[in-house]
Amino acid sequence: MTAALVATLSMTVLGLPVALALDRRARGPLLLGAAFLYGSGVVFAVLLGLSILHIRWTIVIVAIVNLAVCVAAAVLARRPARETRAATRQLKPHWLDLATLLTMTGFAFYATIAPLWEWDFWAIWGMKARVFLEHGGIDWRFLESRWNSYVHPDYPLLVPLNFDFVTLLQGGWSDRWLGVLSIAWAAALLLIVRDLAAREVSPVPAALVAFVVAPIAASRFVGIAEGPLIAFGAAAVLFLRRAALFDDPAAWRHGAVLLGLAASVKNEGIALIVSVAIAMLFVRRRDVLRLWPAVAIAAPWLILRATHDLPTDIASGSVFERVLARMPHAAEIASLVTRTLYHPFFWAALLLGFLIVPAARRREAFVLLVTAIQLAFYLATYFATPNDPRWHIATSWSRLTEQLAVPITFVVVLMLAKTAAGVEQSPDAEARPVEP
């Protein structure tokens, strides 16, 4: 357990100068949450870089390179700020935050209750981490082997390489305490959500939104990539929403970098870059190029997997033929996704929220569009999958909808809170804190 805690702390310290380099004004919960997420990204980038350079991973080498990145980011963070706005104001805690804390405490017990048990952990994410640790770097022969297609060799490697960082620190493989990372990813997202909400509404709704998204951030699929994808993806979308609504340059940088890191977690994160870019074309066409860091961060893995010819199961065989063959079964697929929707009444309540506050639809067009486009990608997958769509829906739909839930919940809870408090919902209104 000590190694996992030390690794989490190290990642946070590593990420602090990166977070400050991107946003000199960041303070408090936002800085802490962003620092862990960037630290997680730095560890991934360092281990990936060492592998590309054929340098065997050892804790000494990894620590030295991590420190070098940390120092470089600290130098960047010390440059005079071009933005003149004041530092983030102090966030006021509320007793409702205790409920979020209790949820997270429960999740901390759950995530570390036993050695990681999920099939996808030991057959995919933990499997790769363990193989790479033995190899001292990314084992391309393992990924390329025809016998190992079950590990989804094309999936990005942030999660396995983060596991490897923990196990390098503990001096050997153990899956007993790797769940600590799942807690940290969830906590990081909640800190960001709480801080971003507090900039727009009073402490009560800000605490409420953190409480509502806590069980989503605390993904029950411990040890696999769902939790970190929710953390990076939701944080990215919420920062980009803020950037688009308030012309906040630091939020642009946070959003673009976190989006790239979401794409380094899972293929759905790569799809999220496309969804965000399309949505941005509708709401802020002139700013779409500001997403370039996301593409730059995702690109190395995309190039590597292409050069190593790592197969993507969805793209195998004739996708077009499969889609055509399943078109007549669209109603059946629609019925299945409706029946297997996780928390259907919750989703119905979110939709109802948009009906109650119609003015918010224009203001929150970015989050709505991202959610709708990403949802369309997921549904299209069920038409293209080489597997039985019924099996595919049953094993993935609840996870996929949870991936999308945080940003949409954030905006609905905030706009309902504002409406309930009597604050006018104008599509162009500058958000302002709602007094309790």
Binding site: G106, Y110, V131, N148, Y150, V212, A218, H343, F345, V413
Partner: protein, 141 residues
Amino acid sequence: MRRILALVCLLAIVALRLEPRLMQLPFIDRQPIVELLGNYADGEWQQYPRFLQHVRACTRAGDSIAIVAPAMKWDDGYSYAYYRASYFLAGREVLPLVTADDRVHPENFQRARYIATWRANVPAGRYKVLCQAEGGALLQR
């Protein structure tokens, strides 16, 4: 009216995402959950990972090992046996004798340096038994 509806909807969203089981977890006896999740990965094959640990101890990185399990059909349990072996024997080359299409691969049996056989019979006499434990044996050609 809209303000009341908004408030009701907001409260409904909060109520629908309450996770009482998560919030109770710090205060309840967690031992049954420890046992449930601790045994979750291996179900009724609790001996199998212990057998694989012995196989790991008897082999070295880079060795090729074919897996013989009681279920030699992919969805009847061979997939689990193969994946689990690949996890515990990381660093070795674990070779399946059956693949997802239920096709048998005798070439992997021929190619492997070792045969890890668990609760299954392999013709005796043709192989040297390197170690026996937890209902299985590691055989060498």
